[in-house]
Structure formats: structure tokens, C-alpha cells
């Protein structure tokens, strides 16, 4: 009973907030509604018994990703309305609707699948974070390490792209240019 109420509450609010995100012409409204929708999605994860995933959703998405967007917004002019000229919105909605039907069919495929067996069932008596850890650090150790390297690459790329004067290097300059740089300082 409570599960039904919670599911419908979370899903209706999430759909509404994400519609605001997609349709609003103000960046700040879009960002805040996106953050709120993500908080509600973590509620759905808690309903599904995926406690650790819900906490990760809260910390990484709502905490880190949205904070990053908020910081990036300082570079852009966030207060003014975005003017977008949409030439044929009916075509977009037709294409979007057709693809939506296709996607609903694709997402509904597990409903029709019959011979699906659990290859990694959760350990008996383990809480969700414990079971996740057991699977993640045994069966999925190599993808985990690759994901760590990917995050490192992304961090370096972000620093280089957003940092100032990262395209100049003292080692590739001539001696005169280096002395010029020192004089400037």
C-alpha cells in the first residue's frame, strides 16, 4: 500500500520535474528541477531495495554533477531567457512520439522474456551494500578499474580545458620567451 503510494508520488513528480527541465526556457529553472527530479529518482531506488545505488545517486548526481553545472553556469549568462527558434516543432513531436513508442517496446522486452536467470544473485543474509561490494570487487573488478582510469582521464581533461593558459608550456618555449614570461610576472 505504502509502496504504491510512494511509487506513484515519486513517478508523477519526477515526470513533471523532468518536463519542466526539458521545456523551460530558463537555465536556472531547468537545473533546479533536474536536481529535484534526481533526488526523487533516488527515492525510487530506495523503494527497489538498491540502497547503495540510491546513496550514490544522491552524492554523485545531486551533489557533484549538479554542483559542477552550477559552477559552469557562472561562466555563462544564466539569468537571461534562452531564445530558441524552433522551425518545425510538430515534426519534432512526431519523431519523438514515434521513437517513444519504439523505446517503450524495447524497454518492455524484459516483460516478455522468459528464460532469464539470475547469474549473480545477492548473498543470503547480506545487506545491499555488502552484496554490491562482494559482486563489484570479484566479478566486476576489471570494469571497476577501467572506470577509475576513465574518471582520471576525465578529471585531467576537465582541468586542462577549463584552466587558464594550459596551452602554454615552459618546456616547449625558447629561452627568450621564458625570460619574457618571467618579466611579465
Amino acid at each position: 500500500m505504502y509502496e504504491q503510494i510512494a511509487f506513484y508520488l515519486f513517478s508523477v513528480l519526477t515526470v513533471g520535474l523532468f518536463l519542466v527541465t526539458v521545456l523551460s526556457s530558463n537555465i536556472l529553472y531547468a537545473m533546479t528541477s533536474l536536481a529535484a527530479g534526481m533526488v526523487l529518482i533516488s527515492g525510487l531506488f530506495f523503494l527497489l531495495g538498491a540502497d547503495f545505488l540510491g546513496v550514490v545517486q544522491l552524492i554523485v548526481y545531486v551533489g557533484a554533477v549538479m554542483a559542477l553545472y552550477a559552477f559552469a553556469m557562472m561562466f555563462f549568462d544564466a539569468s537571461k531567457e534562452i531564445k530558441e527558434k524552433n522551425t518545425s516543432s510538430s515534426l519534432v513531436f512526431l519523431l519523438g512520439g514515434l521513437m517513444a513508442v519504439l523505446l517503450v517496446l524495447m524497454f518492455a522486452a524484459p516483460i516478455l522474456g522468459e528464460n532469464i536467470q539470475a547469474s549473480y544473485p545477492p548473498e543470503v543474509g547480506a545487506t545491499n551494500p555488502q552484496a554490491v561490494g562482494l559482486v563489484l570487487f570479484t566479478k566486476y573488478l576489471i570494469p571497476f578499474e577501467v572506470a577509475a582510469v576513465m574518471l582520471l582521464v576525465a578529471m585531467i581533461a576537465g582541468i586542462v580545458l577549463a584552466g587558464k593558459k594550459m596551452d602554454e608550456s615552459l618546456t616547449t618555449m625558447d629561452d627568450e620567451e621564458v625570460t619574457l614570461q618571467k618579466d611579465k610576472k
Binding site: 526539458v22 527530479g37 525510487l44 530558441e84 517513444a100 576513465m150 576537465g158
Partner: protein, 100 residues
Amino acid sequence: MIGLNHYLILSGLLFSIGLVGVLRRKNLLMLFFATEVMLNAANIAFAAASHFYGDLTGQMFAFFIVAVAASEVAVGLGLLIVLYKKQGTLDLDDLATMKG
């Protein structure tokens, strides 16, 4: 009773919302938001399948999707800042410089 179908339909709905956003938006930052919506929809589907089939693989996939989304945001926002410094706008119509 809430079953797998409910969650999958919700996930499909959210994915469609994100897709309409990607098709409709002309501002690059808004396109990023729509992408986040689509990634979250996929996460819901994975978590639901993981719960109703008693298999943790779905949750593992959702974790890796979160990692991919985080790195995408880091690199993508860096590129957006460079682009904004260079062009002064994030509108896709103004950025279309290759006239075919």
C-alpha cells in the same frame, strides 16, 4: 501491486522526455540536461530489472552509467567553457559554421 512493468513504463516515459529534449533544444547546456534525463531513465530500468530478477548485474551497470555520466559532465563542461570563450554563444544555430 507495483511490478516490473510499472518501473519499465516509467523509465520509457522519462527516456522519451529526454529524447524530445534532445531533439527540440537548441542550447548546448540544455542538451546536456536532456542527456542526464535519459541516463537517469536507463538507471531506473536497470535497478528495476535487478530487483525483480534478483540479480545484482543491473545495479552494477547503473554504477558504471553513473561513472560515465560524471566523466561526461567534466569533459563536456570544459569543452562548453572553451567554446563559450571562443564564440560567445552556446546556441547551435549560431555555432553551425560549416555550410554544406
